[in-house]
């Protein structure tokens, strides 16, 4: 008992939080919930997982949302931003003050912040910019400068443009339809912003396609980039194994890693963007994969059987290849339909 209590002191908790407000913010909804424990433990980049549909719901999977902001009022409140994309988020949008939500959090690894006062560029796509403002506060508290580069399909889908303009050293907005800021996508402007702001570090949150391009450009300029990925999740706490993506570890080995507990924040270059949605052939535990050390260690032993096991393919499926190339359209909307 004492052991598990000790464990929860810094870890996530499950609360039934009272809804304070639900408001429209352009194309999105923002919901504020009283959740003192979660607010106190929160660090920018972390998320919450919310049960939807009320008691006896037919929707069993929690919806994961990046935390936009926490405030000390009412003992501690948590706010997140979402788009109505399905039954679960529609139900959330229909919540009213004094409704109660079952919420777990704060979940996942937060954005690491630099030790020194450096020039930080925060890049957001759509409502992916929501977690960047709490990060900006934290960075400024460390005397870092903060520049924003936000983009979306249209002006009403750029979340936090005003705040970015008000609080950022600079704020560049791009929209695909040209209704706000520069016509185009964030990566069209990334090079110029990096140049103007003399960026030392990039933080990015948004659709996977954007994160991939931001990472590629950051690499070109040799700037470290931290990305918060979006992957479909069922539980948010690390038990369901549905939100995995191929991540290269510091030992050079690719592993299928859970984005909920080992992420959602990764160094951009750790993510094998081309292989997201697949099991790379050289990933730890992929069919046929065998560590060199283990092979020599077990020479002649269970080795032969292991080889067979590796080639057996995924379970519950006869002769189904485990590989899949290219992403499927549905998988990008992640943060809870």
């Amino acid at each position: 008992m004492t052991a598990s209590e000790h464990e929860t002191e810094s870890g996530p908790m499950q609360v039934r939080g009272t809804v304070l407000t639900v408001r429209r913010v352009d194309a999105y909804h923002a919901i504020t919930i009283v959740a003192p424990g979660i607010a106190a433990r929160f660090k920018p980049g972390q998320f919450v997982a919310v049960a939807v549909g009320g008691q006896d719901t037919s929707m069993l999977l929690r919806r994961a949302f990046s935390v936009h902001d926490v405030r000390p009022d009412h003992g501690g409140t948590v706010e997140f931003v979402f788009a109505v994309a399905g039954r679960g988020t529609r139900w959330l949008a229909e919540r009213r003050a004094r409704d109660v939500l079952d919420m777990t959090g704060p979940l996942g690894r937060p954005f690491p912040v630099p030790r020194d006062p450096v020039s930080c560029l925060l890049v957001g796509g759509g409502y992916g910019s929501a977690p960047l403002f709490a990060l900006a506060d934290r960075l400024r508290a460390r005397r870092c400068s903060v520049d924003f580069l936000l983009g979306a399909a249209s002006g009403d889908r750029v979340f936090g443009a005003l705040t970015a303009r008000r609080t950022g050293r600079s704020a560049t907005i791009t929209t695909v339809d040209g209704s706000l800021g520069v016509r185009g996508i964030v990566t069209d402007m990334l090079g110029q912003v990096i140049h103007d702001a003399r960026t030392d570090v990039i933080y990015a949150c948004g659709p996977m396609a954007m994160l991939r391009q931001v990472t590629a450009l950051a690499r070109r300029y040799d700037i470290p980039v931290q990305v918060a990925v979006e992957e479909s999740m069922a539980c948010g706490i690390g038990v369901c194994m549905t939100c995995v993506l191929p991540i290269v570890g510091s030992d050079g080995i690719t592993r299928m890693v859970r984005s909920c507990v080992d992420g959602p924040v990764f160094r951009g270059e750790q993510v094998r963007w081309d292989d997201v949605g697949t099991i790379p052939f050289d990933a730890f535990g992929a069919p046929g994969w065998e560590p060199r050390a283990a092979r020599s260690q077990r020479a002649g032993g269970v080795d032969g059987r292991r080889g067979q096991a590796g080639q057996a393919g995924p379970s519950g499926q006869s002769g189904q290849p485990g590989h899949r190339r290219g992403a499927q359209p549905g998988r990008r909307q992640s943060h809870g339909a």
């Binding site: 706490i237 939100c243 096991a309 995924p314 519950g316 006869s318 189904q320 499927q328």
Partner: protein, 319 residues
């Protein structure tokens, strides 16, 4: 007075009959942030294989009405890492560990049973036989009485005598009683009923299957009636074999339903994704359900639905 919920699993006495279902609680570590794992009847760990395994590509899950499909593909660290890291951790927390094993050949299952028998502290082995048998053209072990029996025989032969071996059966068979009989004849000490149902979802916008692996296992309340039916049929045919029931248990009432059908222990699976503290809540609710019906001991309700007349006036009337 609070009902007596103690139950036996082989040589170990469990404080209560609520377990976590394999694949829904990892190795307990993540859950420990939300529940005291030592107070759960037992933690049934995610199926472990001999070698590390990367699993299937994403998307790996799809929500369905009162359920979900998963196609994880048995991703896991392999037995070495499990024995080094996960099992000792569970034991250090005072949890009881039921270890689920999976393999592609009889030898793999046997090797796993042997490795677990050498380790201290394994309460029971649950054999996940819903895997393709590479020695039998990929035919799933659980779908063939001979194959299913062969796995259990191999495991029983190598598992230490005092570790009970439970066979986890698939409901996707024409005659689950035939599979159950084969497993018990082969030496299974008990049965776990049921594994997921094979299902598929197509996205009508993209017009493609949602899961990268195309098909997946259906779980959640949607399958509970199937679980009740399977437990009922097996209990009818094999009245003395202990059954761990699982399939869509979300409330204490659901757990009671599976027990009335014949389960003496109940695993909580998909409900954990919805509510990480589900096991503790369901235990509380089960306690209440029994108390409200004036039942003193858990053993009184196990298989009770099979009895022709309702025992005691209080039991039939309370809703």
């Amino acid at each position: 007075m609070a009902p007596d919920l103690r139950t036996r699993l082989g040589t170990v006495e469990l404080p209560n009959p609520i377990l976590t279902a394999s694949g829904c609680a990892g190795s307990g570590r993540e859950l420990a942030q939300f529940v005291d794992v030592s107070k759960v009847g037992a933690i049934v760990t995610k199926s472990v294989m001999l070698a590390p395994r990367a699993g299937r590509p994403t998307p790996r899950m799809a929500e369905t009405a009162s359920g979900m499909l998963n196609s994880i593909g048995l991703q896991g660290p392999g037995i070495d890492a499990f024995l080094q890291r996960d099992l000792p951790w569970l034991l250090s927390r005072g949890a009881r560990a039921v270890v689920s094993i999976a393999g592609s050949t009889l030898d793999e299952y046997a090797e796993l049973a042997s490795r677990l028998s050498d380790a201290a502290g394994v309460t029971a082995i649950e054999v996940n036989i819903s895997c393709p048998n590479v020695e039998h053209r990929g035919q799933v072990f659980a779908c063939d009485p001979v194959d299913a029996g062969a796995v259990i025989e191999a495991v029983r032969a190598r598992a230490r005598y005092d570790i009970p071996v439970f066979a986890k059966l698939s409901p996707d068979v024409a005659d689950i009683v035939a599979i159950a009989r084969a497993c018990v004849s082969a030496g299974a000490d008990g049965l776990s009923l049921i594994n997921t149902l094979h299902g598929m979802v197509i996205d009508t916008d993209t017009m493609r299957p949602v899961l990268a692996g195309l098909t997946g296992g259906l779980s959640g309340p949607a399958i509970r009636p199937v679980a009740v039916r399977c437990i009922w049929q097996v209990r009818q045919a094999l009245p003395d074999v202990p059954i761990i029931g699982m399939g869509g248990v979300v409330t204490g009432r659901d757990a009671l339903e599976l027990m009335l059908a014949g389960a003496s222990m109940v695993s909580v699976g998909t409900a954990i994704f919805h509510d990480p503290s589900a096991s503790a809540r369901i235990l509380r609710e089960l306690d209440d359900e029994l108390a409200r019906r004036g039942i003193e001991r858990l053993s009184q309700v196990i298989s009770l639905a099979h009895e022709m007349r309702v025992a005691g006036p209080s039991m039939g009337t309370v809703r």
